[in-house]
């Protein structure tokens, strides 16, 4: 087995670096599918690489050599993976298995809880209004899913703002966005280097719902101002905002650096910009990343197989 086996472990670093720029530039629905697929593929390939490294070190044990009837010295000479790296790989593999199990359990519980609560709400109504003073709105996955909105939030929005809010939340339910984020975070549990990609998926599903709301209401600025206003109202620190509608008729103040901004300002900025388009160059970069990881994992597996056969023949 040659040094290619390390490549699937390194590609997630590149993907993590590329995730946020990709999430910002790609059309959100495409970005969600692409980034989710990326996390799954790269997690699978890096796990396969760890398994190969573990196997190549295990194969050097005298017991397995005797059982498999191959030459141990030949195997040792032909394999560049140091024993220490193999043991580290075995540890990482175990840690990944435990982490995936923990995340599966937590997400399954969260989903079961969500379905249970959605089912316990009054039949018929898609939108459930919570009394109280909180500013809160969320989509509750279920069968049927619900949109939960606090009464106070409905009070502070006008009809158009409410339409934007409900369209956004409905898009989450209709698109089953929680499945994308769950899959991405499962993959990131297997390989924590992929966590920035999973977080990018959290962001792109919000953008996806924002763009749906913009398409349904036909007004990008309306969706942008509703998000911004609600976010400022929901922030615990008292803001100087008037209760009246926040105008965004003024031209956008440039330059505003979004480099270190949280998701809400980035979503608002994206809505104030023209709708994103498909960008083939970016797609190609992602495809190359995935292919590199996949091909090198496959090559490493082929190598190990060939080496074992060679060691068997040398016997």
């Amino acid at each position: 087995m040659n040094a290619l086996v390390y490549l699937p472990l390194l590609v997630p670093v590149l993907a993590a670096a590329a995730a946020r720029p990709l999430a910002a530039r790609l059309e959100p629905r495409l970005a969600t599918c692409l980034l989710t697929a990326t996390t799954v593929a790269l997690a699978a390939f890096s796990t396969a690489a760890l398994a190969l490294m573990t196997a190549s070190v295990l194969a050097r044990s005298p017991l397995l050599a005797a059982l498999g009837d191959y030459s141990q010295p030949v195997l040792r000479r032909g394999d560049p993976v140091p024993a220490l790296a193999g043991m580290a790989a075995a540890l990482l593999l175990t840690a990944a298995a435990v982490a995936v199990a923990v995340v599966i359990r937590a997400r399954a519980r969260a989903l079961a809880e969500s379905y249970r609560r959605a089912a316990s709400m009054a039949p018929g109504g898609r939108v459930v209004v919570v009394p109280g003073h909180s500013i809160e709105a969320y989509a509750l996955p279920g069968s049927p899913g619900r949109i939960v909105v606090s009464g106070r939030l409905l009070d502070v929005l006008n009809d158009r703002g409410r339409a934007a809010l409900l369209a956004h939340e409905h898009a989450h339910l209709a698109g089953r966005h929680h499945l994308f984020t769950t899959v991405a975070h499962l993959a990131a549990a297997a390989n924590p280097l992929l966590l920035p990609v999973a977080r990018a998926v959290d962001y792109t599903v919000e953008r996806w719902a924002d763009e749906r709301a913009a398409a349904i209401t036909g007004d990008r600025r309306l969706v942008a101002s509703t998000i911004g206003r609600v976010a400022l109202l929901a922030t615990p620190r008292p803001t100087r905002l008037r209760a009246a509608a926040l105008g965004i008729t003024g031209t956008r103040v440039r330059p505003v650096s979004l480099a270190w901004a949280g998701p809400v300002p980035r979503r608002v900025a994206a809505l104030l910009d023209p709708p994103p388009r498909r960008q083939l160059a970016l797609l190609a970069i992602v495809a190359i990343l995935i292919l590199t990881a996949g091909v090198s994992a496959a090559e490493a597996a082929r190598d190990l197989h060939a080496l074992l056969e060679f060691a068997q023949a040398a016997r």
Binding site: R109, A110, R117, Y138, H185, P265
Partner: protein
């Protein structure tokens, strides 16, 4: 059984009933009532259901506990409180909101409209929305 000593202290459970069964009975009585009930009325209705005779203080303890759990709403009527069940939808929703605020993993599957803002994000947002220009909408 009727001569069994009713619990005088805070413990609501008598020996024959599993913990929580009395709470469920009380919830049931309040749901069936369709109007807010005082602890005295709850006690009468429990007695009418041929449950063991509960002391007034036991009933008060149970409804107070249910209120503390957020399962009952109460309003003052004269000197006592009258209790009524929180309706299921808003109960489920408000419990979910608590889970969200506690930052548990339950929040992970929910599509929230907005997440929290840092102070920096709030300033950035105001600039993006052109609040500085102070144009009324």
């Amino acid at each position: 059984m009727p001569d069994e000593e009713p619990a005088r202290d805070a413990g609501p459970g008598t020996s024959r009933r599993p913990p929580g069964a009395l709470e469920a009975e009380v919830m049931d009585v309040l749901r069936a009532a369709g109007a807010p009930l005082s602890p005295g009325q709850v006690r009468e209705r429990l007695a009418a259901r041929q449950l063991e005779e509960l002391s007034y203080s036991t009933v008060v303890t149970i409804v107070s506990r249910l209120h503390a759990k957020g399962l009952l709403e109460r309003e003052r009527t004269g000197r006592a409180f009258a209790y009524r069940p929180v309706d299921d939808a808003s109960l489920a929703a408000s419990q979910m909101s608590q889970a969200l605020q506690a930052g548990t993993d339950h929040g992970a599957v929910l599509g929230r409209f907005v997440s929290g803002l840092s102070g920096r994000d709030a300033r950035l947002l105001r600039r993006l929305l052109g609040e500085d220009e102070d144009q009324p909408g």
